[in-house]
Amino acid sequence: MSLSNGSRIVIINVIKSMFTRLLPLLILATVIAPTSLLAASVKDLKYGSILFDYYQQEYFKALVGYEYAKATNELVNNGDEARLLQGGMTLSYGLPDQAQLIFTELLNESVPQETRNKAWFYLGKLYYQKGDIDSAASNLGRVQGNVPAEVADEFNYLATLINIKNNHFDAAESALKFVGKDSVYEPYLLFNLAISQLASGEVEACRQNLIKVTEFAKSKPEEEYLVLADRAKQALAHTYVQENNLLMAWQYLQNVRTTGLYSNRALLSYGWTAIKLKQFDQAIPALRALNKRSISIPEVQEAKVLLGHLYEQKGATRTALKQYLLAEKAFKEGVASILHARKVISGQRIPEEFVVNLDAMMDETDWYGSEPSIDYTKLTPFLVELMSSNPFHSVIKELRDLYALRKNLDYWERQAVEHQLIIRHRQQGLTSTKIQSFLKKAETNKERLENEISDLRLHTMTLDIEEQDRFSSLIEATDKSFEFLDDKLTKVKAIKEPFKQSEKNILWADKLHKRIKQKLAKTDSLINKLENVMRIVVNAELDNHDERMRYYWAQARLGKARLYDKTLNNIQNEQIETNGAQP
């Protein structure tokens, strides 16, 4: 279904006249149409079953379904749409080269405008994912007329992102006005825009958009938006710290939640800002809160030493010493846990379990505080930063797909054994002579059973009426079983020639079973290569943690030594004062 909205044209023309001449790569946004009743447009059952998997983001299954339906000529009514869907699925499944071919092919054919528009959109998305912003912008710019409703939301999101990347902030701001009310994309777009504005020196505009992000979370207090609001408040604080306006920075930091993924950085910044404002007593609770958290968190490591230093500055020597001693113990344990994490990652099955369970682990909001129950969870606390890095994410994504392929091929390998069993049985199965001999035997048995039942029937007649009633239902059931047997025997008699597995099918199955083995070997080899890369990246991250941990450990030792020295000096001074100067 396409958009047809007069107001949209007006809006676009206004924006066009404002920006197109100035900004050649500007993308125009569109208003979002109400959800269309897509069900009504589904004409083929097979096309519908592809959609069923596609909408559940089961791209592999959906792609197999598409290829299957195509091979059996069952995509009669939705040809172009299905081809476009295939392009979308291949792109989502991480096959950009194939997707590009499909979209380009669609654009060369005489397909309806709506399909062409979708193809341009998907091509734009593809280039954006490849990091080619200019090509992404020019492809989106080729969308003519109405943007199809199914992709309108995403189109707006992508167009705004590109405008932000190209520093077309005014266009992005205008486009944001057309993003649907309460759209999931809105706060992310605002945040991205604000950060780009900050990088371009538009501090005031940046602050306004960050404030909008925090307001969005107020109207929709879901965890996802609350986390984003925390980040926005930290960014706001950062802008004020840059201007040395510590009071304003502190005000925003006070409103960051003390739990959640971004609370560590916020608590530490809060502590530092309080120290700079000479509000030492205000800094202590924040640092204490951090002090209780996992030693694997960099901010916690810094807070442990900073807390000792703060007590030292306040003249609380005993408390400071205690803090340094406890910090030393914690760092020792931290270094040991890094060593343990190294052993974990070198384990054979760990990368797979780690990658497959990543979502579940990341979903636990307090995972860093919980006691790990399985080995690979001991790795997680050290990898938080790494999780958000693009290179690591690419490795994880590819590995996850490869593990899924291996699972699929393992399944088919098991099925192959069953296929061969069926084929073997059919090959050794019935011949015409065997059927005749079976029929003869079955009829003899049937006759014998009928005679026995007939005897029993006669015998029951000699019983009392009451006793006879007890048998009547049993006899009825037996009669029905005989009817069923008769029916089956008649069907077997009708078989002129028993079913034979065709040689062609047997060869076909053999060929496919060989292909399963080949692909499995290839998958294993690629998994092996990527797991090695993953180990290298993880070890580099662990090196980073190790170095940082040892640095703070040394700081804690220095603090302790300083206090011991001071105490020793004090004792010596006291002794001098008591005993007088020694010659």
Binding site: L37, A39, A40, V42, L45, G48, S49, L51, F52, D53, Y54, Y55, Q56, F60, L63, V64, E67, Y68, A71, T72, G94, L95, D97, L268, E302, V305, L306, N390, S394, V395, E398, D401, L402, L405, N408, W412, Q415, H419, I422, N505, A509, L512, I516, K519, T523, L526, K529, V533, I536, V537, A540, E541, D543, N544, D546, E547, R548, Y551, Q555, G559
Partner: protein, 173 residues
């Protein structure tokens, strides 16, 4: 005394950056191979599915039952139970994701079996939440003649806008 936040100490950052770059390079290098393997496995799955159906469900006896939903405003589908010639052959409990997928136009392949030519009876039992969120149970039945070729049957849940309630239809294709 200096702290990382203040002095921006570079803790093994070079090694980390090298590791990240190595990861990116390897993924880029392997990207074509991975893409090719993915395509080949999709193709292999298609062939295996075709072969398996030929082996287990030849066209002459094949019968498939699908479930679809049109609008779905008056009914939240929770489960379906299917009986073929008075024998229960399939049940399915729906997740929210699957419900959404049906509502957007997806069609679920619920059951595939072998049937002889001739007369058969199919009964479907739907449970879920009806108008106003009340528990709702409905059954629908179809007697059909299976012909020579493969047989498709669709269980359709459709909104009856006049009566403001769901309607359950079984369609023989």
């Amino acid at each position: 005394m200096s702290f990382a936040a203040e002095s921006q100490i570079n803790f093994a950052q070079d090694a980390k950056a090298k590791g990240a770059q190595a990861a990116l390079n390897t993924v880029k290098k392997l990207s074509n191979e991975i893409q090719q393997l993915k395509s080949e496995v999709v193709d292999l799955n298609k062939d295996l599915r075709l072969m398996e159906e030929e082996l287990l469900f030849p066209t002459s006896t094949q019968a498939t039952v699908f479930v679809s939903l049109d609008i779905g405003k008056f009914f939240t589908l929770e489960s379906v139970k299917l009986k073929l010639d008075e024998r229960q052959v399939a049940t399915h409990l729906y997740s929210e994701k699957q419900r959404q997928s049906l509502a957007r136009g997806g069609v679920q392949r619920l059951h595939m079996t072998n049937l002889n030519q001739g007369k058969h009876t199919l009964s479907a039992f739907f449970t879920g939440l009806g108008p106003n969120g009340r528990p709702y149970k409905r059954a629908s039945e179809l007697t059909f003649i299976k012909g020579k070729g493969s047989q498709y049957i669709e269980l359709i849940i459709i909104d009856d806008l006049d009566k403001q309630e769901p309607n359950f239809v079984i369609k023989q294709w």
